[in-house]
């Protein structure tokens, strides 16, 4: 597999730009398996309410330190697994990952599953994510196919709905976000720290993408924002799949933006528009300065709405 458009946009653009200035294009010249590879020193670690937020390994990774080991939310790309786990060890002062929760099954989230699983760590995910990892899957968000992952890399505990665990004396909750980004999304909530790791439906400072080929669809995406909106407080720190952190207030505001777009979708439906027609209408132009080009978000979101509402 190769890195996704999202990881490219949010993680690779700066690297690629810098490389271009140097007259080299390592990302393009590298082998397929090596695309997006970073060293441990390139992974940025930030403290978020006592959690370690690690960025640069393919997605935002969150680590909670325990006395002997760590809990991880998402695991970056497989090519960065070693570097990431090294950075996690440094950030948490632990040598082992006790539990890894996958917010969904995309390669940016599950690249450390094998290392953690082989070391005896527990892997938690939605059941749909486990199933997806048992075979080769494709997605509009990455080239080629991904999986199947080895047995040791597959989730060992799954849920259809919600669950909780205690780690280092702290409660950690996770819950299904139905049909939001894929059909196997979980958010992970650290209530004591007022931190929500939202996973795929949220991206800081940019537009998220909906994997319409794998059960993500606009209705579910909106519902996920409603669910998160009901959970968060205005000052809750919200960590998306990529990008800087947001707040609970941002989530509520974004929910309104997406609802506004969704309402427009049905006007576009009545006009017979296709996804690219909607993109051309620029229905989110007032947010482009803040969040960048929404073309792919709109295209995929509209496509998913077509899939969900048009008889096949």
């Amino acid at each position: 597999m190769s890195f996704s458009r999202r990881s490219f946009l949010h993680g690779g653009v700066q690297t690629l730009g810098a490389a271009s200035l140097l007259g080299t294009l390592p990302a393009l010249a590298a082998s397929k398996e090596q695309k997006g590879k970073v060293a441990a020193r390139d992974i940025q670690v930030t403290d978020v309410a006592g959690l370690a937020l690690l960025a640069g390994a393919g997605c935002n990774v969150v680590a909670l330190a325990g006395p002997d080991d760590a809990l991880l939310v998402d695991g970056g790309l497989a090519v960065n697994s070693a570097a990431l786990l090294k950075a996690v060890a440094g950030a948490t002062k632990t040598q082992r990952v006790n539990t890894l929760i996958n917010t969904h099954w995309h390669p940016e989230q599950t690249g450390s599953n094998e290392a953690v699983g082989k070391a005896g760590g527990a892997l938690i995910a939605h059941e749909v994510s486990r199933l997806a990892l048992t075979r080769a899957e494709q997605s509009p968000l990455f080239e080629g196919s991904y999986g199947p992952l080895p047995d040791k890399a597959r989730p060992t505990k799954t849920t259809y709905n919600a669950g909780s665990l205690q780690f280092a004396g702290e409660q950690v909750d996770y819950r299904y976000l139905p049909g939001a980004h894929t059909n196997g999304d979980l958010y992970v909530h650290f209530p004591r720290r007022n931190v929500l790791v939202a996973g795929g439906p949220v991206v800081g400072g940019a537009w998220p993408l909906i994997d319409y080929m794998n059960g993500g669809f606009m209705h579910g995406f909106l519902r996920s924002y409603e669910m998160m909106g009901e959970l968060v407080k205005p000052d809750t720190v919200v960590i998306g799949a990529n990008g800087p952190t947001l707040t609970g207030k941002d989530i509520v505001r974004h929910k309104d933006i997406y609802w506004g777009l969704f309402k427009q979708f049905f006007i576009f439906f009545n006009k017979g528009y296709g996804p690219l027609d909607v993109v051309a209408e620029r229905p989110l132009k007032e947010y482009e300065a803040e969040l960048g080009d929404p073309a792919k978000f709109i295209e995929y979101a509209y496509h998913s709405t077509q899939l969900a509402t048009i008889p096949h």
Binding site: L131, N183, G220, T309
Partner: protein, 566 residues
């Protein structure tokens, strides 16, 4: 190649010019007909080898095209005449010329199945993987779609791409002159998909022999295995499974082969005359068993409505499909293979609702307002004399004619029901009614008897408990009793605030331009006798119309997405 069109045009042109179609003999240098066709082309079209040879000998140009871009080689290929093709090639015809649609002589011959003709063309340099322009299909695809296994063997032996895919059409706009949006064929089929669709078992064998990718899906990720089953081609489906097809590969709709197998079981397969003496040896039921035994997941949930069946609801699993079909054999089989009886569709229809409502509601939709045939015309059979009252029911004499299931009285006598479960007594008393047996089995497996479904505007259902569905479906008294035996709350209200008794009294939601359902007094009396106490004083003033589409959409009830599961 639109041979019919070309011929028709040629015939029309000939008739217009007052020339008999049959009177085609002429000289090589004779002027062309009004459609631009040459005497050689007419000779070839008529399969007249001596005339064609004579014209070629006189210097007729074998590469000349008529006004439609068709040359003599294509006409010869269309009738797969080996001798004519040989004569034309010998005279300098180009084996790779294509008509304006990009169809080559090899395409046309591949369709016909004339292997010798294809060998001639290939020997003369015909491109084995030429693509026509409309669907970007190769001769191998045409051979497969026309059930020509020997031709496929030849083409593959000459290097044809066994996994080639036709053009994928990414239709942006799905609104048509039909004035409503609809899905359109996206193309992208492979030779294996054509063979699976067309029930060409020999073609499949040729492809398998040459190591075709059995899991290569179509653009919506529908795998060849599902395509075979959707068409009732069970022998091919079995063969694909044996060849290693992924039994869990879901498509864009979340639909797995097991979904397809269960919902397509009734498809008896090809009605082609070619298959009259060659019926399927295995059945859809065999395939379901085979898939399950090979690890198919009975809990895979649909994402979207799919292209088949009426049960295509978000969250539907193969197991729920079996429940909705009241197929107790498969329900048992799937439970033995890990089916989760607590899963439900996204609008909350669980296994018991789907199974129970089959008796009257059909696939668990449950309708709107009240029981069909209100007033007892087609409604529930009246309660039998002497039926035992349910827990808490008044001890008054039951309505005349009440019917109770065998064993119901014994069950009710002392069995304390557990919430969502099955009282011990009920387990001991097996009813004869298979639907009730299924409902009891599901309760034993952990299905929640008190699950309340939500309204679903697309499905035109008002939701509610299994009892709501049963009552709206006619109110089978045995099923009602069975549900109560399992601990169902007879006074539970649905999202409209209505109890099952309200529906029996015809107080349910009245859809736009429909008449209210009249009360079914007998059914209502039976429910009251069984303990129903909660009902509205009068029928609500239902708005003349349902919620405007905008409300339905904005509230997301258009497509419920809530998770319902363990």
């Amino acid at each position: 190649m639109r041979r019919g069109g070309i011929v028709a045009a040629a015939v029309a042109a000939a008739l217009l010019s007052g020339i008999s179609v049959l009177a085609t003999a002429g000289n090589a240098d004779e002027p062309r007909k009004p459609d631009g066709s040459t005497p050689l082309q007419w000779a070839v079209f008529n399969g007249d080898l001596p005339e064609a040879q004579r014209l070629l000998k006189e210097g007729a140009d074998p590469r000349a095209r008529n006004n439609y871009g068709v040359d003599a080689m294509q006409l010869a290929a269309d009738i797969a005449d080996t001798n004519l093709i040989q004569a034309l090639l010998k005279a300098g015809a180009d084996p790779n010329t294509a008509n304006p649609d990009g169809e080559t002589a090899l395409h046309l011959v591949a369709r016909s199945g004339n292997v010798e003709a294809a060998k001639l063309l290939l020997k003369a340099g015909a491109k084995v993987d030429a693509r026509e322009q409309f669907g970007e299909q190769t001769p191998l695809m045409w051979a497969s779609a026309r059930r020509q296994p020997q031709m496929m063997e030849l083409l593959i032996s000459r290097g044809a791409d066994i996994n080639a895919r036709g053009a994928v059409r990414d239709y942006q706009r799905v609104a048509t002159a039909e004035s409503r949006a609809k899905s359109m064929d996206r193309g992208g089929f492979t030779p294996l998909m054509y063979a699976a669709r067309e029930n060409c078992r020999e073609c499949v064998e040729v492809l398998l022999k040459h190591k075709v990718d059995v899991n290569l899906p179509d653009p919506s990720r529908v795998v060849p295995l599902s395509i075979a089953m959707l068409n009732g081609n069970w022998d091919i489906a079995k063969r694909l499974v044996e060849a290693g097809a992924d039994v869990n590969q879901w498509d864009w709709f979340g639909r797995s082969p097991l979904h397809v197998a269960i919902t397509s079981m009734g498809n008896s397969g090809s009605r082609s005359p070619l298959d009259t003496d060659h019926p399927n040896e295995v059945t859809g039921r065999d395939l379901v068993k085979m898939l399950v035994e090979r690890g198919a997941d009975p809990n895979q949930q649909l994402y979207y409505g799919a292209s088949f069946g009426a049960s295509a609801d978000r969250g539907m699993t193969p197991f729920l499909e079996a429940c909705a079909a009241d197929d107790i054999e498969f329900v048992r089989l799937l439970l033995a293979h890990g089916a989760n009886a607590r899963l439900a569709t996204s609008d909350g229809r669980g296994a018991i609702i789907l199974a129970a409502s089959r008796s009257g509601g059909g696939r668990g939709r449950g309708g709107f307002g009240g029981p069909p045939g209100g007033g007892g015309a087609r409604g529930a059979a009246p309660p039998a004399r002497g039926a035992a009252p349910a827990r808490g029911a008044p001890a008054a004499a039951p309505p005349t004619g009440a019917v109770a299931p065998r064993g119901a009285a014994a069950t009710l006598a002392g069995a304390a029901p557990r919430a969502g479960g099955m009282p011990a007594g009920a387990r001991a008393a097996r009813p004869a009614n298979p639907a009730i047996e299924l409902v009891n089995l599901l309760a034993e497996a952990g299905a929640d008897v008190n699950l309340m479904a939500k309204r679903h505007f697309l499905a035109r259902s008002r939701g509610g408990s299994a009892l709501h569905y049963v009552v709206r479906g006619g109110g089978d008294p045995q099923m009602i009793q069975a549900l109560l035996d399992l601990g169902l709350d007879i006074n539970a209200k649905d999202e409209d605030g209505l109890t099952a008794l309200d529906y029996a009294m015809g107080r349910g939601y009245v859809p736009f331009l429909q008449m209210p359902t009249p009360p079914n007094k007998a059914l209502a009396d039976n429910l009251r006798h069984l303990g129903a106490k909660v009902e509205l004083e009068k029928t609500p003033d239902w708005p003349p119309q349902g919620p405007p589409i905008a409300t339905a959409v904005y509230d997301s009830v258009l497509w419920p997405v809530e998770p319902v599961g363990p």
